[in-house]
Symmetry: C2
Subunit: 346 residues, 2 copies
């Protein structure tokens, strides 16, 4: 395992800079998927920064939305429970917003293979509809779209930069690619102000841990909390992880950075780690736990991508962003969060 933290620069708190600058004070912000993992962490930060936040979330049970994610902040922001596929309500919700963080999506790769039309409806058609409606009712809004490293498929070289060919290995990746291309097209042809971030694995409080629909890490945390052995499939695969607070930093920077290219930017980390070492690190931080190392299941092997880590150099050059939280720190605060609030997530 790469030594955690060794390659990380001294802590760099973009959030504090923004607080000082007052850039987000009274800004009207819409977050689609705002009760989900990343959306809720972003919403909490934006409330701290003085923004006027509206959340949209469908609370579909298999997805990441959870009302507890914004516990205590219910009066500090506006929650609109609805589905981004509902065209007419979206048309009203999109109006009078200065920034849209477009995070709503179906995230499960296995679900996208079992029910590809739902994945297409949410990750493709609803995205196109959102852009069409922005064009009609709010053409000057700033839009930041959260995409995924999943659409690179099996890496041809490491670290994977934005010039790496895309080759999605599942329906989810194909539809997320379409959504990216729609965002870029609406910039190029219709002049919408869109930016795209391709997120890698993200960790932190408020992620779904009931099952692996959002990330395998959720299941690992559940297994650890429930005293079960952590199921590691294979284990040699390298991955990179971002603390959700670093991802929130990156989203906020993109939200105020009108000059960014409409082409995608990778997030990523200079820390890479094998899944086996990650599991061991979690057990070590938790103070107890066991591993159950298993061969990779046949039905998942076809859509597995082997080793993966991103180069985030392009985004760093454009904006100065870099991850500042070590993996050890992230795992500690994440496990502490679930130790305290597990009943809201199981």
């Amino acid at each position: 395992m790469a030594s955690p933290g060794s390659a990380l620069k001294s802590a760099w708190n973009r959030g504090a800079d923004l607080l000082e600058s007052g850039a987000w004070r009274n800004k009207t912000v819409l977050i689609t998927g705002g009760l989900g993992f990343i959306g809720s962490n972003l919403a909490i930060r934006l409330v701290e920064l003085g923004a006027k936040v509206t959340l949209i979330d469908s609370l579909i049970p298999d997805y990441g939305g959870n009302l507890f994610n914004i516990n205590g902040l219910e009066k500090a922001l506006h929650i609109n429970l609805s589905d981004i596929r509902d065209r007419f309500s979206m048309e009203v919700l999109l109006q009078n917003k200065q920034v849209i963080f477009n995070l709503a999506g179906q995230t499960s790769h296995m679900d996208s293979m079992r029910d590809p039309q739902t994945d297409l409806a949410i990750n493709g058609a609803a995205q196109l509809s959102l852009l069409e409606q922005c064009r009609a009712v709010n053409p000057t809004v700033r839009i930041v779209f959260a995409s995924t490293r999943q659409l690179y498929g099996r890496p041809q070289y490491l670290p994977v930069d934005e010039d790496h060919p895309v080759d999605p290995v599942d329906v989810n990746g194909i539809n997320k690619l379409s959504a990216e291309l729609f965002h870029r097209l609406y910039h190029n042809v219709h002049g919408l102000s869109t930016s795209i971030l391709r997120l890698t694995n993200t960790i932190g409080p408020r992620m779904r841990i009931r099952d692996a629909r959002q990330t395998f890490l959720g299941v690992w945390i559940r297994q650890l909390l429930e005293g079960e052995p952590i199921d590691v499939w294979g284990g040699e695969q390298l991955r990179d992880f971002n603390d959700v607070d670093d991802v929130v930093d990156a989203l906020l920077i993109a939200g105020e950075h009108e000059g960014l290219s409409p082409s995608p930017y990778n997030l990523g980390s200079s820390e890479t780690i094998s899944l086996l070492d990650l599991a061991r690190m979690m057990i070590s931080i938790h103070g107890k736990g066991n591993l159950n190392i298993r061969p990779f299941p046949a039905d998942r092997k076809k859509i597995d991508i082997g080793d993966y880590h991103s180069s985030y150099a392009r985004y760093q050059q454009a904006t100065g962003w870099q991850p500042s939280r070590s993996l050890a720190h992230t795992l500690e605060r994440t496990l502490a969060y679930y130790a305290e609030h597990r009943n809201h997530y199981l």
Copy 2:
């Protein structure tokens, strides 16, 4: 203008080879979009080859379907008027077929920008649905998907080969790319036998000439027949053109060639010509006519791609296919067809 025919090899009639081999005799074949330009030419050839042909076509007025296209063959094949978005009828129609030529699509780039959801429904969602149903009810069927050079966008180099990055410049290109990726994914993950041909501009009898929804060439033919000047926008842009009979050859070869890669193959021509020279050639063949050279309209400029021609070397290497009809021959037979049957197309 490149000298027409000079670079073309001696005529090579793949259709005749197939007729001799009897490969298509009694084969059960489904053609989606079978009353359209390419679909109907393919259907006519397949009937000649003794195949049992079923056509699906929605006859949506703005699209390419035209009952006259199979005039006289109504009893030699089965016509099923329906929409590929109709899941349950498709499920029955897909059964007991050995080969599916999947040609149905929305083809107008301007329409895809005006009504992107319909383009997505037909070119994206319905394609995914067709593949899902094949997987369920006919997993051994051979599927040939007609894609388009449009998804390369503005060429970075010429001729454009399959390694050229894709960068669709309109909603249609994005959805056709998704459909390609779905076809490839269903091969890689579910074992369906799929192949993809990326067609360049195709000319021949039975294309839509009422307007430019299928190809600008349709409008030019209409203008020529009606004694109006041919509207040439710009005119310097280079293009390549395939005779629809060469495209039918290519489709038939793909239909019987199970060993083809599921990755896309370009069609194309060794003859390239500027649009202005093409218009002049049409006037010369027709014996009369005028040009109206106009600046490129602003709303189309954003989605124009400049010069384009394809390399078809990869498909030639894999199968031996090459275009054998000269552009002059193609224009002659096409203009003769519309001179005789114009009332069915205007």
